[in-house]
């Protein structure tokens, strides 16, 4: 009973938040609604007994990814409203719904046909985090290491691309120096 109440409550909240994210004209509203939706999604993970995934969802998505977006938005002009041309919405909604349905049918087709066996069954008696650690560091050790390297590469790429010319501080220069600098850039 409580499971049902929690499921419907969080389902409604998540859908509402994500709906705000895709429809709002204001970038900051979209960011906050998305962060809230991510936290509500972690509730589903806790209901499903995947405690570790729920914690990771809060820490990585709501903590790291949303903070990264918030920092990234400092570079953009987010105070003005977005002006977007949206030609035909009906077609977009129809295509979106149909494509989503198609994906779910593709994913759930093998489940409906039955006869699937658990490759790494959930073990009774030990916690979710411990069990995940046991599977992750035995069967999925190589993907784990590759993911670590991929995160390192992404971090270096992000620093190199976003951090260009960040060694120059305009606030410490005088007006003449800034003008000189900008003129030199225009010529180059």
């Amino acid at each position: 009973m409580f499971e049902a109440i929690a499921f419907y409550l969080f389902a409604f909240l998540t859908i509402a938040m994500f709906w705000i994210t895709v429809t709002t004209k204001h970038a900051l509203y979209a960011l906050t609604a998305l962060a809230a939706g991510m936290i509500f999604i972690s509730a589903f993970f806790f209901i499903l007994g995947a405690d570790f995934m729920g914690v990771i969802q809060i820490i990585v998505y709501s903590g790291a990814v949303m903070a990264l977006y918030a920092f990234g938005m400092m570079f953009f002009d987010t105070t003005r409203e977005l002006h977007e041309k949206n030609p035909s919405s009906t077609l977009v909604f129809l295509l979106g719904g149909m494509a989503a349905l198609l994906v779910v049918i593709m994913v759930s087709a093998p489940i409906v046909s039955g006869s699937i066996e658990a490759a790494y069954p959930i073990i009774e008696g030990i916690g979710n985090t411990q069990a995940i650690g046991m599977v992750l560091f035995t069967k999925y050790l190589v993907p784990f290491e590759v993911a670590a390297v991929m995160l390192l590469v992404a971090m270096i790429a992000g620093i190199i691309m976003a951090g260009k010319k960040m060694d120059i501080s305009y606030s410490e220069m005088s007006e003449e120096q800034i003008d000189e600098k900008l003129d030199a850039e225009v010529i180059a």
Binding site: E3, A4, T14, I15, F18, W19, T21, V22, A27, L31, L34, G37, M38, I41, F44, F45, A50, M53, I56, V60, Y61, A64, V65, L68, Y69, G72, F76, L82, E84, K85, N86, V92, G96, G97, A99, A100, V104, V107, S108, I111, I116, A118, A119, Y120, P121, I122, V135, L136, Y140, A147, M150, L151, A154, M155, A157, G158, I160, M161, A162, K164
Partner: protein, 101 residues
């Protein structure tokens, strides 16, 4: 009233549809990124739900790796976005026609 796997799959479908609508409607690149995050999250819900109802850890581990991929995607994507914004002062999809495609 019991919550079954179907409930979670329907929820995942709805969220995926919202994300797809966002990808197709949005012209601002930052908003497009938000829509992709919604897509990734809806798939995560489906994977964890299947993992729970079939008693298998694989779904949760796949969701774990999807989160790692999403994090690196954000790092690289935001770097490119900042670079593009410094050059054009705008992050609209409509003006990205330098290749004349």
């Amino acid at each position: 009233m019991e919550i079954t796997l179907t409930h979670y799959l329907v929820l995942s479908t709805v969220l995926f549809a919202i994300g797809l609508v966002g990808v197709m409607r949005r012209k601002n690149l930052l908003m497009l990124f938000f829509a992709t995050e919604i897509l990734l999250n809806s798939v995560n819900i489906a994977l964890v739900a299947i993992s729970h109802y079939h008693g298998d850890f694989t779904g949760q581990l796949f969701a774990f790796f999807i989160i790692a991929i999403a994090a690196s995607e954000v790092a690289v994507g935001l770097g490119l976005l900042v670079l593009w914004f410094k050059r054009e002062n705008k992050i609209d999809l409509d003006i990205m026609t330098s290749m004349k495609g």
